[in-house]
Symmetry: C2
Amino acid sequence: MNIGDVATASGLPAKTIRYYEDIALVTPKREANGYRVFSENDLHKLRFLARARALGFAIEDCRTLLALYEDKGRSSAEVKELSRKHLDDIDQKIAQLQSMRNTLSHLVEACAGDHRPDCPILNDLGQ
Amino acid sequence: MNIGDVATASGLPAKTIRYYEDIALVTPKREANGYRVFSENDLHKLRFLARARALGFAIEDCRTLLALYEDKGRSSAEVKELSRKHLDDIDQKIAQLQSMRNTLSHLVEACAGDHRPDCPILNDLGQ
DNA sequence: CTTGACCTTCCAGTGACTGGAAGGCCCATG
DNA sequence: CATGGGCCTTCCAGTCACTGGAAGGTCAAG
């Protein structure tokens, strides 16, 4: 398979796949003409990466997860620990966004949004 | 005031304030020795920026908001529109994170997290 | 033989800082 | 007067995970 094929099959842009090769997450072979050749296993890895990234795991975490995935003797504790930490991160981010949302939605509601210059949003920011 | 003073007073790191000068969000004067001198108005702007950033507004939005803040003839409609869009962005981000959180928390719960290699998290990623 | 869809590499930019090096300035103490 | 410590300065590089674009090679169809 060429890069376009695995891009379609994995849902990742070709650019991203090249980048993943750059940072050694996948290591496709090369044809005589220089084109990358992807095996089924490469595609499987790319799909794994796409899913892990979609869950918000950082690239370096994806690298770790992929290594654990391929290590048939790993303990699931390590995976769970990594995932639990990531879940905590997500919860923190959500909490932060919720707090922004709270403040901002109050301000937006209080703002008339007409041609007049009086604006509770700017008033608040200018405290 | 020197940069250290406004850093303390605004809560922004000195590095960040220098960066804000770089991108022309503030324009402090200079003393003969090259040190930046910040006026009360500069400090006021920095506090405005700190609050706007804390609400998650992008730097370019902050620039716009600051300009509107200083334009005493602005219409509040423009401010409200910008804020409403930002609120939508926040909502989208929250939704995305919630969906990650959902999936991931189910997986984490399903994972024994012991010495055995069987792991629902990796099984899911490897689909 | 040309066209168009692939593919390649390399370089630069994104956003909003952040860290660190190398060096100047200022004040107080010995 | 020297020195030490805490300010301040500039400049460069790195972060994260791509993304865009230029310049050019390859391949199959018509």
